[in-house]
């Protein structure tokens, strides 16, 4: 098999674009021309494998062209959004506990004086749209490998999933699209099988439902890992051998990365079948066991660097690892699943369950032996050099040679224009009602809020025996965060939570602020503090100015929220081009702009962790935070088919103060239960706390701190941020009030069996049996 030359010299722009399209390179005209100029200087045409390498390395997935490019927005020239906002906030905060942020496969922060935490969240949207089971499974497998790629051991899987509502009318489905219920079942099964088989607990996550995801479901897979402080290495040296461990290479997922940079259409099924893979969790478990042994066999790891094969396969993993040195790769040494692969296919295949290790020559035999003992393959497939060149060999012949510098730095910056105007929609100001029992039940039954027990019971959230606070709390209620105790001889714990709300997408700045606030308050609810954040954007086509403008707004919010909460971002990822065309229409539709913020906090003593179920009748109920006229994107309006209103904002200074005070009160054991108000507002939070404890609550809306609200429904269902409901014992009330000060107000107490709410005019406007509320919450996903 020989590498082909692809003639690009002397070609016109149009012809170059045709080449890009023909080989599924997803390179644009500027990039193709830059390549042309580069090869012009070399005086030769590129080989197919070289062109593929550039396509992979320069893909949106690998370099985040949009985030690192230049954006013109409202008279401003933003050079590299990521650096100018998100990373800038992290740098400004300069937290001493941030160890490696935004540089490696996963963000690393300290846990205690012996261990560090590694955290990563990724999206696997496009593959999951085509094959939900395989796509979601390999999404989990991929993010586990990201954490393994910094040498850590995965201890938690967390997944946030977005679909169209499961009762979406089948007749309305666009062609070539799977029904959301089928997607959801497949995705859940994929995550379940990968996590459970590998022995990694899936104890945290979330769901969002919105019609806008009908063509593009979103699958966010996250992983938390733990690594002894002295075991992190990331410096491949010239002379080190490249060891490829794990699964064999086939045609799996070829062009998966460049495919992620294209919009989906009904044709996707045909052109992208190579992008689909099915994971093999058992293989990955073997690789994990092997690499941990190689890490811990002696004082120092037997390898000098490690990384995973993810998007772009060997080309990205090896190319990135040898960036500073140079590498020579013998592609004929890569073990194959079957014969007949072209060298370029071997090079960019995204076959799963493979890790790359840089191993000093003296350790090679020992490392290979370790993997053999784990029943998995490991082979030397190349070596690190010092010529700063990427050289590809096949059967002794050079089939590609590229400068590392041009490969990694040569990519032309994209320059794009962005424009976004927030359109405030007038509040519909619905008439008030006398009885809101059915409205609360309607929201409890809405898919985003409803019980996910059907999902949670499929995931093993106990394996590894580290899960302290679990997804279903009390006698059955939705937990805010999950708490892990990673080291058995210490009570210190990790708290993991998420925040997102695609219904706020109309105001991307406040949508992002709300996501940060929600992730923070969920974490604080269980006792978390010293919080690190991860950002994950799923967006529409950034080449369209309105989409990009909205993205800039959200990124700015990340900066402001991060500084305000003093919570640095440590890692992030983006999935753009989530658009779909309906019925062959030319205009594509974007998904609702979705930012998932994952918060990773610490709790010094897990014995102080708090759950959300009310514990005892007679205890007092407090609310923290103000309720405002912020009904935009609310679940109440959704169930009433109403639209408009202000999207909730965040008063960061005040929120931070209240959260700190709440944490302080928890550390003094003053809090029996704590739950945040999110979808469905105060009313739904209260209902959830009641049925989780199988008790009741009597609360008075007249006592709720608020801003001139005259309607009961707004007090009950406004989704204002930074609010908590807290249960406190009577005898501890004074001390609690002293710590919280103005932030907390008493609004009622815990009773038996019923949720009773007194309205603004002094009459009862909710009088519901707890068990009826629970039934409403449980029935939706009674699959």
């Amino acid at each position: 098999m020989e590498a082909r030359q692809i003639k690009i010299l002397g070609r016109s722009e149009k012809e170059l674009l045709e080449i890009s399209k023909k080989f599924l390179l997803a390179l644009n005209a500027v990039e193709m021309k830059k390549l042309q100029a580069y090869y012009q200087k070399l005086g030769r045409d590129p080989s197919d494998i070289e062109l593929e390498t550039f396509a992979q390395t320069w893909s949106e997935h690998c370099v985040h062209k949009t985030f690192r490019g230049v954006v013109e927005y409202k008279g401003e020239r933003i050079n590299n959004m990521l650096k100018s906002y998100i990373i800038k906030a992290t740098k400004e905060l300069a937290m001493p506990w941030c160890v490696h942020v935004f540089e490696d496969n996963a963000g690393i922060v300290t846990f205690d004086d012996k261990y560090n935490i590694a955290a990563k969240v990724e999206t696997h949207n496009h593959p999951s749209a085509l094959d939900p089971y395989g796509g979601a499974g390999t999404g989990s497998g991929g993010v586990f490998r990201d954490v393994m790629g910094v040498g850590a051991k995965p201890i938690l899987s967390t997944d946030v999933l977005f679909f169209a509502p499961p009762d979406y009318p089948a007749g309305k489905l666009p062609q070539g699209v799977l029904h959301p219920k089928r997607l959801m079942k497949g995705v859940v099964a994929g995550i379940r099988d990968y996590g459970n088989r590998m022995g990694i607990p899936t104890a945290n996550g979330g769901f969002g439902f919105h019609e806008g995801y009908v063509g593009n479901p979103l699958v966010y897979a996250g992983c938390i890992g733990i690594i002894p402080k002295d075991k992190y290495v990331h410096e491949a040296m010239p002379g080190d051998k490249i060891v490829l461990a794990g699964g064999r290479t086939g045609r799996d997922g070829i062009h998966g990365v460049t495919f992620a940079s294209l919009e989906l259409s009904a044709e996707s099924e045909k052109t992208s079948s190579g992008a689909v893979q099915i994971g093999n969790a058992i293989e990955e478990k073997r690789v994990l066991d092997g690499q941990l042994k190689a890490r811990d066999a002696h004082g120092k790891p037997l390898y000098s660097a490690i990384t995973d094969c993810g998007g772009g396969g060997l080309s990205s993993a090896i190319g990135e690892m040898g960036k500073k040195t140079g590498v020579k790769v013998w592609l004929d040494k890569v073990p194959l699943k079957y014969e007949g692969l072209e060298p370029w296919e071997i090079w960019i295949s995204e076959a799963q369950e493979r890790m790359i290790l840089a191993v000093p020559e003296k350790n090679v035999e020992e490392v290979l032996e370790i993997f053999r003992n784990e029943n998995t393959e490991a082979n030397v497939v190349g070596e690190f050099t010092h010529d700063r060149k990427l050289t590809l060999m096949f059967n002794g012949k050079s089939i590609g040679e590229m400068d590392m510098e041009f490969l990694h730095e040569g990519i032309p910056k994209v320059e794009r224009k962005a424009a976004f105007e927030a359109k405030e929609k007038k509040d519909p100001d619905l008439p008030d009602s006398q009885n809101f029992g059915d409205d609360i039940k309607a929201i409890l039954s809405s898919p985003t809020v409803a019980s996910k027990e059907w999902v949670i019971r499929q995931y093993d959230h106990e394996v590894q025996a580290k899960t302290v606070i679990k997804p279903i709390q009390g006698l059955g209620g939705p937990g805010d965060a999950c708490v892990l105790r990673p080291v058995y001889d210490d009570y210190r714990g990790i708290v993991v939570s998420n925040g997102y709300n695609p219904r706020f997408a109309g105001d991307p700045y406040n949508m992002a602020m709300s996501a940060i606030d929600e992730a923070m308050r969920n974490n604080v609810c269980c006792g978390g503090r010293r919080i690190a954040l991860l950002d994950n954007f799923s967006w529409g086509n950034p080449e369209k100015p309105d989409r990009l403008g909205a993205l800039v707004e959200a990124v700015k919010a990340c900066h402001d929220g991060s500084l305000g909460f003093r919570a640095p971002f440590i890692s992030g990822k983006d999935s753009l081009y989530n658009e779909y065309s309906l019925g062959g229409a030319k205009e594509t539709i974007s998904i609702p702009y979705t930012l998932v913020v994952t918060a990773v906090g610490i709790i010094p003593d897990i014995r102080n962790a708090v759950t959300m179920d009310v514990k005892e009748t007679g205890n007092l109920v407090y609310v923290i935070g103000e309720t405002k006229d912020e009904m935009g994107g609310s679940h109440y309006y959704m169930t009433k088919h109403a639209d408009g209103g202000k999207i909730p904002g965040v008063d960061v200074g005040k929120a931070k103060e209240a959260m700190d005070a709440l944490t302080n009160a928890m550390d003094k054991s003053l809090v029996r239960a704590c739950h945040d108000c999110s979808e469905g507002g105060l009313a739904v939070a209260a209902a959830e706390m009641c049925f989780a404890g199988e008790l009741g609550m009597k609360i008075d809306l007249r006592k709720v701190p608020q801003q001139k609200l005259k309607k009961n429904y707004k007090l009950l269902f406004s989704e204002s941020n930074s609010r908590f409901l807290v249960e406190v014992e009577k005898m501890k009330a004074k001390e609690f009030e002293k710590i919280l000060g103005m932030h907390a107000l008493k609004i009622g107490e815990v009773t038996a069996a019923k949720l009773i709410v007194t309205g603004l005019d002094g009459k009862a406007i909710v009088n519901e049996k707890t068990e009826d509320l629970k039934k409403a919450w449980q029935k939706t996903f009674d699959w």
Partner: protein, 161 residues
């Protein structure tokens, strides 16, 4: 080539079958009575009858709740006839397309080797659905495409028995 089918004995619940039935009914008001499923393994290799039996008994089927049957692979649906005890049913078989990774198949092939049965080249896994009810061909086709098989990675065949 041998094919081994593993299903639940009469009197035991078939959760996957029940689930599939509810999924099918979620698509529309189809006239179906029940759905039973069989995990299906196509074993490529020159093995003896006793070995095929051993594989079914010791590796693939749970002796208490499940039964298994095996036969030489003679084409889709053939092996199901005698074991499902079903008449007036559609038999749908779903397999991965060639080239799609089949991790369960790989593990089964490995396990067969550990059982002491050599000469097995590969194992492909699939699912056989036995759907009883009043359905015409266009309906079963729609069910296959919308519910049982993902055309991108799987192929399906159906026949009436």
């Amino acid at each position: 080539m041998w094919v081994v089918g593993v299903g639940y004995r009469q009197g035991y619940r078939d959760p996957m079958g029940e689930n599939t039935k509810s999924d099918i009914l979620g698509l529309g008001p189809y006239n179906i009575n029940d759905v039973r499923t069989l995990q299906t393994y196509v074993i490529d290799g020159e093995i003896e009858v006793t070995e095929a039996e051993k594989i079914g008994k010791e590796l693939l089927a749970d002796g208490i709740m499940q039964y298994f049957s095996f036969s030489r692979f003679s084409g889709a649906g053939e092996h199901v006839k005698k074991l499902a005890g079903a008449k007036n049913a559609w038999v749908v078989e779903v397999f991965f397309r060639p080239g799609v990774m089949d991790p369960v198949g790989l593990s089964v092939a490995k396990a067969i080797g550990i059982l002491g049965v050599r000469k097995v080249k590969s194992v492909r896994t699939g699912t056989t659905y036995v759907i009883r009810g009043e359905l015409d061909e266009s309906e079963i086709k729609a069910i296959c495409e919308k519910c049982l098989a993902n055309g991108l990675i799987q192929t399906y065949t159906y026949r009436r028995i």
